[in-house]
């Protein structure tokens, strides 16, 4: 019963989706202010979701049940990740060995769900989007995993989120060291790609391939994809806070750290153009991976 409550209400689906949708509104509002506009009201993202549930769901010719089920796969997994992270924050000792690895896997699944759905739709532009998404995942996972390895090394090989937190509470947040801060910077860039935001939004490029992976989705499945994005916008920054910035874990400090990360995400989004997929691949496997590898070596040297 308690598990169901945790999964569906707090800190799982309802809470994560609400925070994520409001964060999405902050993003839209700040973007509007940067462009000297007024921007939408605070409930805009909720209204969008409600509206989408009321629209017809179109099943394109030749698309099967996979097309309809793919969005749920992504949402279920990312909500599970949000629940595990939230529970770890509340009770650092509640986790299980290896939950860090589980989270890493769960956070990739939304991207995979998107690829499956796009490929199932049979639309050529969607398959372009899916192939870009796949390359993007391959690109950012390498530096992301290297940065996470840095954290694991720094906390004496612990692969439990609870021990990562306890270690940081004892000996200062990981972000305070050279290796920690370089891994953190790499992670922020990877997060931008994970969230599918500019400059790494080529898989969904509205102006170029008309929504890419989402092109054939309408109605409820589209709403589920948007919810997935919203929950991801809550989960990924939280994951980074736990990994790198978990010195003080009172509610207030988590909130301001989350807002700080959100500001960074929005600033990157608004000040950069979209990069081509080959540029993204080159960037992540080149500069970002080198920085992350340097962080691993520094961490091994104890810096």
């Amino acid at each position: 019963m308690m598990i169901l409550f945790n999964y569906l209400i707090f800190p799982g689906f309802l809470f994560a989706a609400t925070v994520g949708l409001i964060a999405g509104w902050v993003d839209r509002k700040v973007t509007a202010r940067i462009q000297w506009r007024k921007g939408p009201p605070w409930y805009q993202n909720f209204v969008d979701i409600v509206k989408l549930t009321g629209k017809e769901t179109i099943l394109p010719e030749g698309a099967g049940i996979t097309f309809l089920l793919a969005p749920y796969l992504g949402l279920l997994c990312v909500v599970l990740a949000a629940t595990i992270l939230g529970m770890t924050l509340i009770f650092p000792s509640a986790g299980f060995t290896g939950d860090l690895i589980v989270i890493l896997y769960l956070l990739v699944i939304p991207a995979i769900a998107m690829m499956i759905g796009a490929a199932a739709s049979g639309n050529p532009l969607a398959s372009v989007g899916a192939s870009r998404e796949m390359k993007l995942v391959l690109a950012y996972e390498l530096p992301f995993l290297l940065s996470v390895i840095t954290v694991i090394i720094k906390s004496q090989g612990a692969i439990r989120l609870g021990s990562v937190i306890v270690h940081q509470a004892a000996s200062g947040p990981n972000i305070g060291s050279i290796s920690g801060i370089s891994a953190f910077i790499v992670c922020i860039l990877c997060m931008q790609a994970k969230l599918g935001l500019v400059p790494f939004d080529s898989s969904e490029a509205e102006q170029e391939i008309m929504g890419g992976t989402l092109i054939e989705y309408s109605g409820l499945p589209l709403a589920i994809f948007r919810l997935t994005k919203a929950v991801l916008l809550y989960t990924t920054p939280l994951f980074l806070i736990i990994l790198f910035w978990a010195g003080n874990l009172s509610a207030g400090s988590i909130i301001w750290k989350y807002i700080a990360l959100l500001v960074i995400i929005i600033l990157i989004k608004n000040t950069s153009p979209r990069v081509r997929i080959d540029q993204a691949l080159g960037f992540f496997w080149g500069k970002a991976a080198i920085l992350a590898a340097a962080a691993v070596i520094l961490a091994l040297a104890g810096k």
Partner: protein, 144 residues
Amino acid sequence: MNLKLRALTKSLWVFHAATSPCNNCDIEILDALTPRHDIERFGMVLAGSVRHADVLLVTGVPNYKTKERLKKLYSQAPKPCLVAAIGNCACGRIMFKDSYNSPCPVDEIVPVDVYISGCPPKPEAIIAGVVKLINKVTSSAKGT
């Protein structure tokens, strides 16, 4: 009035369907999307794919080719989908009425919900037209 319909009026995603206009109307639509007029404050955004569309903004006089395309676009859009005819061309074909390549006006192809006249209509007129569209949806929902 039901919640989903109310949400629809607060979050109209527009899709731009140009059926051979002279392009002036399209430029005015883009004007309405610029920061100066900022229709995102009403929750309207430009949709890239017709599957995400709530309103089709139709401009121009349909000819034999674009007529079929418009029909197809309308059938591809998820219902409820509204149609706004923008510009005198889309409203009533003006001087192209007797043209050899103009088979029929827009409202004989798809059901038009609001006519926004002008050649081209100003962005203010387009926004006023969309407000009329919203009022129409709300009042028809109250009526039933």
